[in-house]
Symmetry: C2
Subunit: 360 residues, 2 copies
């Protein structure tokens, strides 16, 4: 057993790899697992590949994200991508860039979360890389899945309804709460309410969990694809306004949104109301909820609702696609107002987790 305060710099690359390898079980379908030049895994005819990165200072802060939750989220953001294609996630590689002062307690906590989330979702970790970094810690995961009936972002047709699963805004509210000093521990219990009083414990916990341990409805899109209910799907990672514009671009359509019919997370909305604000911007532009955006013909809505009942999953018709140059408008009782995309752009306007940044 390694001393949790031992740094990776002191332990060394070879011993670190050996230790991590000893923790990772060989999963189903894995012919050659960790420890060779490459992993060899069983696949079908159509393989899905996605990759997503969490960078310290851009996507998380070490003092905000207990390592177990960081590990869970690093896999979850990729699971949402495979799920949005109606695929089945199967194998993952994990690339870590670690500053030498990172302690083994942190690395093991990260792997606790990774392995736990992998087990929950039937994913085998089959390889990866550890590299020494000097500035920030980076967790880059590539997730491999199988697919048959795929759902892409391209298939929306004019008249399709734009439907959002679940609620939006809680993850962005959670980020704001972290900036205000609220904290969760690795067991997802609140250790600090930040600027809020104890009476808000439940609400604060809810939003922090949404930010630090998102739970997308992973099985939904696959069921939808099998029943051929929807034309297009994607996960809402950057925010509804930008992601809907992306789907418009891929499908070659315009879309409108009804601003009075956004699925605001009720808890996030209540916290915003308590400080005299609305949660509208959070729901429209805030990202990281990892819910799904669907394009569905109106006559398939009943089938979709029947399916969503299985997961007790709210569905909201937020708007509709129509012929036109790719764009998103707010439809206020028939009067259209062009909406500028305002999603997360980590390079430019709104670095999410830097000191003093804001998400809306």
């Amino acid at each position: 057993v390694l001393d949790p305060e031992m740094t990776v710099g002191k332990l060394g690359e070879r011993a670190l790899i050996k230790h991590l390898r000893s923790r990772i079980p060989t999963g189903l379908g894995v012919s050659v697992g960790i420890g060779d030049d490459a992993a060899a895994v069983e696949t079908g005819n159509l393989t899905l590949i996605t990759t997503d990165t969490l960078v310290e200072g851009t996507h998380f802060r070490r003092e905000w994200s207990p390592p177990r939750l960081l590990g869970r989220k690093a896999l979850t953001v990729n699971l949402a991508d495979i799920a949005a294609m109606a695929g089945i996630a199967r194998y993952a590689t994990v690339s870590l860039c670690l500053p030498p002062d990172v302690q083994m307690g942190f690395v093991d906590g990260l792997y606790d979360g990774l392995l736990e989330r992998a087990a929950e979702s039937g994913v085998s970790i089959v390889g990866g890389n550890v590299a020494s970094a000097w500035g920030e810690l980076v967790v880059d995961i590539t997730l491999i899945g199988s697919g048959d009936h795929l759902l892409t972002r391209k298939g929306a047709v004019p008249g399709d309804l734009a439907v959002v699963t679940g609620h939006l805004g809680a993850a962005a509210e959670g980020l704001r709460l972290l900036q205000q000093g609220a904290r969760l521990n690795e067991e997802l219990f609140l250790t600090s309410t930040g600027i809020w009083t104890e009476s808000s414990t439940e609400a604060v916990t809810h939003c922090l969990r949404a930010q630090l341990d998102p739970t997308p409805p992973l099985a939904l899109a696959r069921a939808l694809a099998e029943q051929e209910l929807v034309h297009a799907a994607m996960d809402i990672s950057d925010g509804l306004s930008g992601d809907l514009l992306t789907m418009c671009g891929e499908s070659g359509l315009a879309a409108w949104i009804d601003p009075d019919n956004l699925p605001l997370d009720p808890v996030a909305a209540a916290l915003e109301r308590a400080r005299g604000k609305g949660a509208f911007d959070l729901a429209l532009h805030g990202g990281e909820d990892y819910q799904f955006l669907l394009a569905i013909p109106p006559d398939k809505m009943d089938g979709l609702k029947d399916l969503a009942v299985v997961w007790d999953l709210p569905l909201t018709i937020v708007g509709q696609f129509f012929e036109g140059e790719p764009s998103v408008s707010l439809n206020r009782d028939g009067s259209m107002e062009h909406l500028k995309p305002h999603s997360f752009d980590h390079f430019r306007s709104r670095p999410t987790v830097r000191e003093g940044s804001q998400t809306s």
Copy 2:
């Protein structure tokens, strides 16, 4: 056309992704390429997955590596891993962590090299990620391949010869030359000899090219696997001493090396001699040559030689495997001297490209 001095911070994530996407062709077997939640690609029953990362300050410096060569190398190090498994490289994802001050000229140069190397090796870039970083630039590539007859690190048996392809030490010598001020431009021509005189131009160029644009014999292992000539294979990325120990560990064997029979790169050896040193340590411990280490039964050596002729590839019997606890010894005329592994360990002893570091 974008201004090459435009920074990625100014351009923004959305425009950067759009620009990169416009540069990447859709390749054979790619059902869904860049721009969706995940890529969808055709695969066979057995899929190979490897991932390798180049981190600024650990594996390269921006002032040392012209971006085109950095792009080439980022793919090459992964190609070597798939090749060492006797696989065929097919699809790659590219994750970039970019400090906001990185200019588009650099990003486009990086992609010039990536796309060029991908075309050379039949690889399609099918996705990736761009994230804003604050400290160092990171290029993390996951490469997906197909396999049938795999070569792993596990199959060596007692009596197998340890054979190395090509020469060793030039890449490590190239790193030393970079530290001494020698420089290549992106067309692989020398722009500075560093501490060396013009008379050494060819030698310096040779070693810098080995470091900045390695060219492993990618097709060899696959031919070997088809003809069932070797028992085990791996690429020599960290240095012969450490990588041979790794193969010993995987195969549950010991091995000895004949110190008088290492395939020192003759040019690197000449440069070392000129400064009064030997290249022995470079060949034994220096990494990044991306040649192959093979375990082969003695009666298959003739077949291996016949094959290597096709690529005009030198082969050197450096030692032999025998029963015992995993370890590597130097065999000096029958007298065994235990060899401590001394490979690159980026976390600890010898950060490779930091100021003042040394590789041997």
